[in-house]
Amino acid sequence: MQIYLPVAEISIDVFLLLGLGGVIGVLSGMFGVGGGFLMTPLLMVIGVPAPVAVGTQANSVIATSVSGVMAHWPRGNVDIKMGLVLLVGGLIGSALGVVIFSWLKELGQIDFAIKLIYVATLGTVGTLMLLESSRAVFRRKRKLPTRKKLHKHHWVHGLPFKMRFRKSRLYISALMPLAIGFAVGMLSALMGIGGGFMIVPAMIYLLGMPTSVVIGTSLFQIIFVSMNVTFLQAWENQTVDIVLALLLLVGSVVGVQIGTRLGAKVQGDALRLMLAVLVVAVGINLTVNLFTPPADTYVLGSGF
């Protein structure tokens, strides 16, 4: 059954969209990530124009992160102060991202830029995750003791504007979360994702936040960043397709429930390893795509 998407201006099969939402939902439920980094490239594969894929995905991220935060809130897993600092950086970064997006669109390089940013971020994050999680799995299998320092000191701790984050048990410079929020916000706006797969590792490894508050806090700030991106994309570029967003959401809401249950049966580090493999696979696929000669060297610019 075909449905006409009013903003994307194409017809796509309803069940394909629901199914796509469902599959991504399962994965995001399993791994605790938004899954935007998979959804946006897949939408482009099924024929949604890249700018619409990006704008619309930002819209559905709002819904998924709201229900995520609502699940984490009662458990006290949200560090609001940290979230707000990340958010300030995120809002500035994402606003800049949307401006860059419009500029690239005018240059006619938006499709290429989106792919390139995907390759760079997925490649970097995927490789890091792969290394970390395989090491963890290896240690668990060998039953090696994990040594952890209680507190590490980097150059980061010498930065000014120190702030105390009680929930995260941190006393660090506010510049660090601000910068992370900014960078992730900008990339999210360009990639049409929440940015969970980038901000979560950054919070754990760069800020040293306890894992328990990371997911809730990142989701908290992702809500507002993606609201900002949705609004700016709708306003600047008219690339938010609400019908497409809702169809994907219906699928993913169901998928997430299945995914969460599946995820509970697998060891944490094994899950991270699987996610890392997935991230790297998508990255490699996009890289190959960049180097593959196009069927026709003359292409239409997207009308968006």
């Binding site: 059954m1 075909q2 449905i3 006409y4 009013p6 903003v7 201006e9 194409i10 017809s11 819209n59 559905s60 709002i62 819904a63 998924t64 992160s65 709201v66 229900s67 609502m70 699940a71 006619g108 390089q109 499709d111 290429f112 609201m227 949705t230 609004f231 700016l232 994309q233 709708a234 306003w235 600047e236 008219q238 938010v240 609400i242 019908v243 967003a245 809702l246 959401l249 809401v253 997430v256 429930q257 960049l290 180097f291 593959t292 000669p293 196009p294 026709d296 060297t297 003359y298 292409v299 239409l300 610019g301």
Partner: protein, 259 residues
């Protein structure tokens, strides 16, 4: 006095003869035109893009004089169309050049009662812009004639891939010698706007009669409202999209929270 009267009579007489002559000539040309004319109409003057829209057929039908060949051309509204040429930079394929065609038809399809080359003289094809080879697209930028031809062919190929420039001419069925009908396919991604459907009659390779029919392609119902809101009240649309997503997230949470 008598001179004035003569002048008046002369003027009246000449006027009368002029009117008479033009009447006779008018009826003659009128009869002539009727003998040559095609009479065509569309089964539907509106293509409504609704939620379940999955392409459609435009049904053109009518009458033609005994002898003659027919061609039907469907042209979508002219739109500025941006083309890119990809080139390899360090192995990576990037858009390396851009060309805009300010007046490219957004849709083009053709139906003919016989192969175009057999029924239409080449210069008539060119003049009427019949067929994809004779579209005569003019870009806004400058380029050498060779390069220009490449851009043009590239545009036609790209539009063909989207199904918006229809490659294969549709058939025109002629019934009983002077009734015709033709169904021209429109894909689901047709651009909206006012289309012009031209029905041409050819005799000995020359265009002897033509009729133009307008066709509206527009979004209707919810689709149209969403599109209009997104483009005319973008800020409001953005806020609404956010609110809907928030509401959706909340409902999802209520539905599935652990009991």
């Amino acid at each position: 006095m008598s001179r004035l009267a003569t002048i008046a009579i002369v003027v009246l007489l000449s006027l009368g003869s002029l009117i008479g002559a033009s009447l006779i000539m008018g009826s003659l040309t009128g009869r002539d035109a009727r003998a040559q004319a095609v009479l065509a109409d569309l089964a539907d003057h509106l293509v409504a893009i609704h939620t379940g829209f999955d392409g459609t057929n435009i049904l053109v039908f009518g009458m033609l004089p005994k002898d003659g060949d027919l061609a039907i051309v469907v042209r979508g509204p002219a739109r500025p169309t941006v083309m890119h040429r990809k080139g390899s930079i360090a192995g990576v394929w990037v858009n390396t050049a851009t060309m805009t065609f300010p007046n490219a038809p957004s849709f083009y399809a053709l139906a003919s009662s016989a192969p175009l080359e057999e029924m239409v003289a080449p210069y008539e094809r060119d003049r009427l812009r019949l067929g994809l080879d004779d579209l005569n697209l003019r870009p806004s930028g400058r380029a050498s004639p060779n390069l220009l031809a490449e851009w043009r062919e590239g545009l036609v190929r790209a539009k063909q891939r989207q199904g918006l420039y229809v490659t294969k001419p549709s058939e025109i069925t002629i019934l009983g010698g002077n009734l015709f009908r033709s169904a021209i396919e429109m894909p689901s991604n047709v651009p909206t706007g006012t289309y012009l459907i031209d029905v041409y009659l050819f005799r000995d390779g020359l265009n002897v009669a033509a009729q133009s029919l307008p066709l509206a392609v527009s979004k209707v119902g919810v689709e149209a409202q969403i599109y209009a809101l997104a483009h005319q009240h973008s800020a409001l649309y953005g806020i609404l999209s956010i609110l809907i997503a928030l509401l959706f997230g909340w409902i999802a949470h209520l539905l599935f929270r652990r009991r």
